[in-house]
């Protein structure tokens, strides 16, 4: 968008040069109102004439004012226009105020830009300034709460874990619901690039401080120009450009400290010993064989204290062994500037971040060079080159999608490890089982724990995912004739990701293999060529047309190769390159996708009052069946700016309401984000039978596979009050998704590989309202308060599914199923067995079976009705839909206060109306060897006792929900969070001739506080990452962190 502004600015200047000389000379200095610094390059125009000039490097100007001219207009990009009467003065100074609204004035809409006034779709724009100072890995993490209709959840505190982004709800079931992300014109991959437990979000490859703005396209009218790619909305990232004027140098840096918050409270060693022995006593009463005699000691106990060398009892807080206070720092240097023909932006960034989980790190080195040059009066060239290297390191945290039940997951070990065992021996060595056995040394405990000592996992295992990537773009804009422009843009996104995994032979995942290494290399080649021809025509300033036609082709090829090595010849080796006994191929594959599209759009407005636009796109996608590859998509929108009507202007309402418009759009977009590039093909996969070659039926393809489409309707209202000091936007939307591409579950007895086939069947909708208010309640020069409040209400419902509406069960870590997608409910609803508390008479959990009967459970005894008759066992087959796991309302509330040199920002986010399955709680109450939360101290002991925790019986994995999910572990997810609180201070101008023009220092708290009744670590959690069918689950993941940041912004 800046580009367009810049271009128009260049044109203005060209006009100005034709000005002719006249009598009176006026001089002056133009400064920035905020910093009092001189502003170079400001256009100074005599109102009503074409006479003008620009300010020099120090902000001074001199202009010859023709006779009759008595007002000067000062214009500069990023600042509010200012008019000053000349009168008889020969010196006219001007102080320009920055224009915060400026960014929202222009919207990038796919292949072109439009002004906010012309735009009749639904989109939001977020400026880069709210992103660059946050202690995050990717820009997306900083978008939370910034825009109506956009819901962003960081799955947990694992660094660079891909966020879950949902624009206007969850828009697919088997396909990704992640929006399309376009960086300076090229759609980029957003899938986790890691092949091991170090998550690697490709969005983390972009230095957040390089981002000028993010436009979020939400409705079909705005997004359908992206046709097949746009069903989940589009995030358009525009990186910074140089501004005309002398070179501007900035340095931004911060240091941040991060630590885990809201960790569950666990039993200490004595409580653990007492509780477990108590549970064993209860079990032995029911089944004398419940614990083998070899595991029973004095007094039929199995757990005993261990002692340190100094005689004190071992009482380990495993959180201290697994978590840390992490330190991070970030530096970003930019040099930018330009002449009337050439502008440039150069940046170098370095960030080195630690996670609060030990051995979890993130580093990024990045460089960017953006250049644009007006080569001739009819040709403009622009080029962007961005190179970056991103290194992610993480131990097995059990917090990446699919990893919830990893037995070496540190999030899980930290809570489940027995507190009466020591991490190290007296001599400082790891306290591991001296037998050839993959656990911590059990000390005096007679029942072994199943957990590995986390210390060697943290110290000796290695999981890294390192991406080196170049994103480059070369574009030419040709003016063919007046109003007719042609643009050609070629983009290249080339990345290599090296995934390195080494598991030590002593303890944990590598123990069984006697050391294990897995290296994988992924080469991604992604290119995109876009050609557009645009014609703009205005007739009598009344009829304004823009017509655009174009084509867009993209091809992405990913080649993976790798190998697994096992059985170390010598523990000396700690790398893949060492000597191993066994070598097996691993992580090999080739995937190719191609897209081809032809597009066109027409915009027309009449006198800035009536707007109509239409767009059309024909899309081809290689991942669909050959005969069904092409699809036709398009949309139309209308707008009516009532406040531009004469009758409105003449009414008294116009004194208050300065902008009032209605808009509506309808469009059909496709979703081509197929999970498989080859879903149409029935294939046979190669393997080995012993050492003989084998070939097996491996995929049932669907040669009818076609586009999943959604019909999107949007009706909106824009209102500006008191000279737009308060602006209000409301939208109603309805997205009807049809021909859902589903991994349709098949009866396993059919023997279809994976028990699923990709077919077009099923439908669902998302509908809701979005509200956004921007206001400046106070602005008295010295003190300003500006605020933004947004709210989204969303309802999602599945209306039909495959196979006679057979429900789809969502899986957590492959072991637990607490979600269901079924007709009449929202996608991935919580699906658990109902319970009715703890029977006060006998301490047994009461379950409700499918027939609605109350049945109680006693471990080692079984299932009975409340009157004691034997009952059929309750299982997950008795589960029922509990409620939606998707927030029904969410939003953000941002406040910026400025007083003198101080600035303060308070950003609140809120969300709710959803339920979360807190599976971690089931583990925390499990009556096996695992440590428990202090909840178990409330366990039932005596008849008549009212409690929510059943009688503790050793080995009981049913009563508290480990065996199958129960509603006792489901909680509401409503919350209010102070996402960030920032206090900044702009140092007074005391730098003299040092060359430093401005310095701002700030302190910031991220996740400052959280108000919620949710009992897990955080209501914003997604153990299953981006999964559509298993959202709203917390299972064994590490928590979120709280960060304190100190930073500085320096301008030279």
């Amino acid at each position: 968008m800046r580009k367009l502004l810049l271009m128009s600015f260049v044109m203005v200047l060209a006009l100005l040069q034709q000005a002719y000389a006249q009598s009176r000379t006026v001089t002056g200095t133009v400064t920035d109102q905020g910093t009092s610094q001189g502003l170079p390059g400001v256009a100074v125009i005599v109102k009503g004439t074409t006479v003008g000039t620009t300010t020099g490097a120090d902000g001074t100007y001199s202009i010859t004012v023709p006779e009759g001219g008595n007002t000067l207009v000062f214009r500069f990009i990023g600042y509010q226009n200012l008019e000053k009467t000349i009168g008889n003065a020969s010196v006219v100074n001007a102080a320009l105020a920055t224009d915060d609204k400026m960014l929202s004035e222009v919207i990038v809409t796919g292949y072109a830009t439009q002004t906010r006034e012309e735009f009749t779709g639904a989109a939001a724009t977020v400026g880069g300034d709210v992103i660059k100072d946050r202690p995050v890995q990717s820009f997306a993490q900083a978008l939370t709460g910034r825009a109506a209709g956009v819901n962003i959840v960081q799955p947990n505190g694992l660094l660079n874990n891909p966020p879950v982004i949902r624009i206007r709800g969850i828009n697919s079931i088997s396909l990704s619901s992640f929006p399309l992300v376009v960086v300076d014109g090229i759609p980029i991959s957003t899938d986790d690039a890691s092949a091991n437990s170090a998550t690697n979000n490709p969005l983390g490859d972009i230095n957040p401080s390089d981002i000028e703005s993010i436009d979020i396209l939400k409705d079909a009218a705005s997004s359908s120009i992206y046709g097949s790619r746009a069903a989940n909305g589009v995030l358009l990232i525009t990186t910074k450009r140089g501004k005309q004027g002398k070179a501007k140098v900035t340095y931004d840096g911060w240091v941040s400290s991060n630590s885990a918050v809201r960790l569950p409270e666990l039993l200490n060693a004595q409580q653990y010993i007492d509780h477990k022995n108590g549970a064993i006593a209860n079990a032995l009463k029911l089944n004398p064989k419940a614990v083998p005699a070899s595991q029973l000691g004095e007094g039929n106990k199995s757990f005993f204290p261990n002692y340190n060398a100094d005689g004190s009892m071992v009482d380990t807080d495993w959180y201290d062994e697994v978590y840390r206070t992490a330190l991070s720092h970030n530096h970003s240097l930019t040099v930018s500037g330009g002449t009337d023909k050439t502008s440039y932006y150069f940046s170098a960034g370095f960030t080195d971040q630690e996670g609060f989980l030990k051995a979890n790190d993130f580093e990024r080195r990045s460089g960017r060079f953006n250049l644009s040059h007006q080569a001739t009066d009819w040709m403009k060239l622009s080029a962007n080159v961005n190179y970056n290297n991103t290194l992610n390191n993480a131990p097995n945290s059990g917090s990446a999608p699919g990893a919830a039940f990893n037995s070496s997951g540190l999030g899980r070990i930290a809570v489940a490890m027995s507190p009466n065992l020591a991490p190290r021996r007296a001599d400082g060595s790891y306290n591991i089982n001296p037998e050839r056995n993959n656990t911590i040394d059990n000390g005096n405990n007679l029942i072994p724990t199943s957990w590995a000592n986390p210390l060697p996992l943290i110290d000796l295992d290695k999981n890294s995912s390192e991406t080196s990537r170049i994103i480059a773009n070369l574009a030419a804009d040709l003016t063919l004739a007046k109003g007719l422009t042609f643009r050609s843009s070629y983009s290249w996104d080339r990345g290599n990701t090296e995934n390195i995994q080494f598991w030590n032979p002593y303890q944990g995942d590598g123990w069984n293999y006697n050391g294990y290494a897995y290296n994988n290399n992924a080469k991604r080649n992604n290119w995109n060529l876009v050609n557009t021809l645009q014609f703009q025509k205005s007739i009598n300033d009344l009829h304004n047309f823009t017509v655009l036609v174009g084509s867009d082709v993209q091809k992405t090829r990913v080649e993976n190769w790798g190998a697994v090595r096992q059985d170390l010849s010598d523990p000396f080796f700690t790398q893949f390159q060492g000597q191993f006994g066994i070598n097996v191929a691993g992580g090999n594959g080739i995937t190719q996708r191609a897209y081809e599209a032809y597009l066109g759009s027409v915009n027309y407005n009449f006198g800035g009052r009536y707007f109509i636009s239409a767009n059309y796109r024909r899309d081809g996608n290689s991942a669909l069946a050959p005969e069904k590859r092409w699809g036709d998509f398009g949309g139309a929108s209308v707008g009516w700016t009532i406040s531009e009507e004469e009758f409105f202007k003449n009414s008294s309402v116009a004194d208050i309401v300065t902008n009032f418009r209605l808009k509506g759009s309808w469009g059909r977009v496709g979703n081509g984000n197929l999970p498989s590039a080859y879903g149409a093909y029935t294939t046979y996969g190669a393997g080995l039978y012993g050492e003989a070659s084998a070939l097996s039926f491996s995929q049932a393809g669907n040669n009818e596979l076609q586009w999943e489409t959604s019909n999107q309707t949007n009706i909106g209202l824009d209102l500006g009050v008191l000279n737009n000091r308060i602006s209000f936007e409301a939208n109603y939307y309805h997205n009807d998704i049809d021909n859902l591409i589903l991994y349709a579950p098949q009866a396993p007895s059919k023997g279809i590989p994976g028990n699923e086939i990709l077919i077009n069947v099923g439908s669902m909708y998302n509908k809701g309202f979005e509200f956004a208010i921007n206001a400046v309640p106070v602005d008295n020069g010295n003190f300003t308060w500006s605020t933004n409040l947004n709210l989204t209400l969303n309802k999602n419902e599945v209306t039909s599914l495959a196979n006679n509406n057979a429900p789809i069960i969502g899986s957590t870590g492959g072991l637990e199923s607490a979600n269901i997608t079924t007709v009449g409910e929202s996608v991935g609803s919580i699906y658990v067995v109902r319970t009715a508390g703890v029977n006060p008479d006998n301490g047994r959990r009461i379950f409700i079976n499918k027939a609605g009967e109350e049945v109680q459970y006693l471990h080692h005894s079984g299932w009975t009705y409340l009157d004691g008759r034997p009952a059929k066992a309750v299982s997950s087959a008795d589960a029922q839909v509990y409620g939606s796991s998707l927030p029904k309302w969410y939003g953000g509330f941002s406040n910026t206060l400025k007083y003198g040199n101080f600035d303060m920002n308070l950003m609140f986010t809120y969300s709710g109306g959803n339920y979360i399955y807190n599976g971690s709680q089931a583990g925390l109450r499990d009556q096996r060897v695992w440590n428990n939360s202090t909840d178990v101290l409330r366990a039932w002991t005596t008849p008549g006792q009212q409690t929510d925790i059943p009688l503790a019986v050793w080995g009981d994995n049913v009563s508290n929900g480990s065996s199958f999910p129960i509603d006792a572990n489901v909680q509401k997810g409503d919350f209010l969070r102070l996402q960030t609180a920032t206090l900044g201070y702009r140092l007074p101008n005391l730098f003299g001739n040092s060359g430093i023009s401005s310095v701002r220092v700030y302190a910031q708290v991220d996740n400052a506080f959280l108000i919620t009744k949710y009992k897990g670590v955080d209501p914003e959690i997604s153990t299953n990452g981006n999964s559509n069918t298993a959202p709203g689950v917390e299972r064994n993941t590490i928590p979120q962190g709280r960060a304190f940041t100190f930073g500085v912004n320096v301008g030279f």
Binding site: R436, L478, D567, Y689, S696, A747, N755, N803
Partner: protein, 481 residues
């Protein structure tokens, strides 16, 4: 002049414009063509004789999946009853199976069902494709491949029907058995299929095995192939087991006599010369291809059983998930398994702090022990039991002694009544075949209660825990079940 300059300028502009457009149109017609490059399309799967043979291997590979007959099937049958004690309370390694608290949502039982039926469908698809491409191979190979496929289908149905359906012997197969899928499935149609009766399933199994017997070669040509691929005697041996499980003892004798000589030393008179090995440990050592191993699935470092499916991981020092129950009613405490028995001295060991455990299978990664499916020792015991029940008691005892004396030469069974003989044979199976996947299947075919150590109670044949429930994924997606 001005006019001409402008025109030239426009020409240049148009030339520049043409470049990317030319680039675009040069996009080949098949720009959108993206064909899998690392797997073979169904259209080409039967193209060459070599590829057809790899498809046959693929059927075996499917059955040998660690989730099915490559480990977990055997493990689950052995840990359900009295022989083993669980060491680590982990549902991934069968803690809930040991405790009998699992349900229709159990991931691993569901995987077993799924892998069994995947194998069956692969067989069905193969038979269909083979028929359409029979001209590509000679008729002998055609018959052999067909027979091998049917052998695998029979083995898969037989494995599933024993654990997911009421035992045949309870009501002569009148109970609901399994959905009998014999047609290839590659589309989203035909989800619904009712369960055929147990009897119908056994009928199909025996039909397949009879046809397999007819089509299979006498020998596959090498010791390795004679162990890892089916030949005539493999089909016959499996029939002795199927008939035994059905309670058709006469049938056991008929089939058994085809591959067991009338008197000791017992060997197979035709085809592959099956015989007991003098030293039992040689059967469980590389190269795992003695004449005793009638059918085993091979393992290799490049084709391992997969994480937490390995027999040695469960029973040996791998992770010692289950150790031998040292007390009654565990077989380790049974007097028939004497202290000097090779199977005790050479195939079990002590583990400090835990106790006795099996060393039949290596406890070291990558767990490349072949997994025995049919051993000659089992055939002899099948035949012995049938002879004891309906035939020649003397031959029965001779067969029993052949197996027992191989490992414990001095043991004297003494005078045994018919029932004592049967009991001794059943006990011998527990000793000889421990950790090879027979225990629970033997219990349910003989209608005994499961003396579960994990549940701490006897599980009667009427108890719903006696057999595994049909997985919920089948219940949800098969409307005719």
């Amino acid at each position: 002049m001005f006019y001409i300059k402008t025109k030239k300028q426009y020409l240049i502009r148009l030339a520049l414009l043409a470049m990317p457009l030319a680039g675009l149109t040069s996009c080949e017609k098949d720009f959108l063509e993206a064909i899998p490059e690392t797997s073979i399309s169904d259209a080409n799967a039967f193209d060459t004789p070599d590829r057809i043979e790899t498809l046959v291997n693929g059927l075996y590979l499917s059955a040998k999946s660690g989730t099915f007959l490559g480990g977990r099937y055997q493990i689950y049958n052995d840990i359900r009853a009295e022989e083993f004690i669980n060491r680590s309370p982990n549902n991934v390694t069968g803690y809930d199976i040991w405790q009998h608290t699992s349900n229709s949502n159990n991931t691993y039982l569901s995987n077993m069902w799924t892998q069994g039926y995947l194998t069956i469908n692969r067989v069905n698809l193969f038979l269909d494709g083979l028929e359409k491409n029979k001209e590509k191979i000679d008729s002998e190979l055609y018959a052999q491949y067909q027979a091998e496929a049917k052998f695998i289908r029979a083995l898969s149905y037989f494995s599933l029907v024993q654990i997911f359906a009421t035992p045949y012997t309870q009501d002569n197969g009148a109970s609901p058995g399994l959905p009998l899928r014999l047609q290839p499935e590659t589309s989203s149609a035909n989800n619904g299929l009712a369960r055929s009766s147990v009897a119908k399933v056994y009928e199909q199994i025996l039909k397949d095995l009879n046809e397999a017997e007819a089509g299979l070669p006498d020998t596959q040509g090498s010791a390795l192939l004679n162990t890892t691929r089916a030949h005539k005697n493999s089909a016959i041996a499996l029939k002795t087991r199927v008939n035994l499980v059905k309670g058709d003892y006469a049938g056991v004798i008929t089939e058994g006599n085809k591959i067991v000589s009338a008197t000791a030393p017992f060997t197979a008179p035709t085809g592959v010369k099956h015989a007991l090995q003098a030293d039992i440990t040689s059967v469980f050592k590389a190269p795992y291809t003695t004449a005793e191993s009638i059918f085993s699935v091979p393992m290799a470092a490049t084709n391992a059983p997969g994480t937490q499916n390995q027999l040695g991981y469960y029973f040996n020092a791998g992770n010692l998930e289950y150790y031998l129950n040292p007390n009654e009613p565990g077989i380790y405490a049974d007097p028939q398994w004497a202290a000097e028995d090779d199977r005790k001295t050479k195939l079990t060991a002590n583990y400090d702090g835990i106790g006795r455990h099996l060393t039949k299978f290596s406890g070291v990664s990558p767990y490349t022990d072949f997994v025995p499916i049919i051993r000659y020792a089992e055939v002899l015991l099948n035949l012995a039991e049938a002879e004891a029940r309906v035939g020649d008691q003397g031959r029965s005892l001779a067969l029993l002694e052949a197996v027992h004396h191989r490992s414990d030469a001095d043991y004297d069974f003494g005078d045994l009544s018919q029932q004592e003989l049967i009991d001794a044979i059943l006990t011998e199976r527990r000793i000889e075949l421990i950790a090879e996947g027979f225990r629970a299947n033997d219990i349910v075919r003989t209608g005994q209660p499961i003396r579960s150590q994990g549940a701490g109670t006897d599980i009667a044949p009427t108890d719903p825990r006696y057999i595994f429930p049909i997985p919920v994924s089948e219940v949800n997606n098969n409307p005719d079940l």
